[in-house]
Amino acid sequence: MDKFILRKAEPKDVSDILRLIKELAKFEEMEEQVVLTEKELLEDGFGDHPFYHCVVAEVPKDKQSLEGYTVVGFAMYYFTYDPWIGKLLYLEDFYVMKEFRGYGMGSEILKMLSETAVKTRCSGMHFIVAEWNTTSIEFYKRRGASDLSHEEGWRLYEIDKCNLLKMSSK
């Protein structure tokens, strides 16, 4: 499998992007948490002020997946800001379908994202990984990633919509 291309996602890709998001969520045992729709992905990623950017990995038709898909990997990212060091690239999702692993697609996607980060003068790339996901942690540590939760004690917190509404009306 030497033939695959990486390209910027287009509006026509939202169906494949959602499929891959759900596959990744299933692997994380969080599939029921995905409430995002194709319509939202379209509005939020391809309007005047996109909330995210996406790259997809595509194989030729003769190399399609068992179920007939040619878009077989993706990465979703956006830019964030650290008031100490400036712009950062935040990697939200990163996934290659199981049957297409081991051909360097993941490495190529990560390379493309790092090039984007360097070109846009980001100081770093951030992302989160589940602590039980040792394969991914090893993959990232081999590439020089450090675990901020472990090394510096950062904990990620969330407030959901219900509590946001309570807080905003105080």
Binding site: L36, D44, W84, S114, A117, M125, M167
Partner: protein
């Protein structure tokens, strides 16, 4: 105590820069600051800002011991959850020590929540240092939960040489 919460403007960058340094000193990492007041002006107040700011201001007669009327701030930006869509990330929340306990922090956070909800966000995310007990208690009172503790998600970073090597395809 009388205070107002409003959107930050270019002119506020001097005070935001001052308070960023104060917050970094509180977190014991002020030597890590590379961003200048000028960077903040460019990155936050150009055509495509990388962040948004809100300021807490008190009237002249309540100014701080050093003569400041801008006594708190929050920096936030919009992010995206591949599970739930639009989200807002609160990067910094800070109130000068002499103005704490008067509801300013809560008001700043309420404003970020309002703005987030108005933009169609369904969650507010932020990170807290595990030793920062007073902040942890404050946030838990607002209904937040610890994603790192409950789901085991760790914040990872790739920067500097590691980022450059990654970009060049070195392993």
């Amino acid at each position: 105590m009388d205070f107002t919460i409003r959107a930050a403007t270019l002119e506020d960058c001097k005070d935001i820069s001052r308070m960023i340094l104060e917050l970094a000193e509180h977190e014991k990492v002020s030597d890590q600051i590379k961003i200048t007041q000028r960077d903040l002006e460019q990155d936050g107040f150009s055509k495509n800002p990388f962040f948004h700011g809100i300021i807490a201001e008190v009237p002249e007669h309540f100014k701080s011991r050093d003569g400041h009327t801008k006594v708190g701030y929050s920096l936030y930006f919009y992010t995206y959850s591949s599970w739930k869509g639009r989200a807002v990330y609160m990067e910094d929340l800070y109130v000068m020590p002499e103005f704490r306990g008067k509801g300013i922090g809560k008001a700043l956070m309420a404003k970020v929540s309002q703005l987030g909800l108005a933009a169609g966000c369904t969650q507010l995310n932020f990170t807290v240092l595990d030793w920062n007990k007073s902040s942890l208690d404050f946030y838990r009172k607002q209904g937040c939960w610890d994603v790192t503790a409950d789901l085991g998600y760790h914040c990872m970073r790739c920067e500097g040489d590691a980022l450059e090597h990654l970009a060049q395809g070195d392993l």
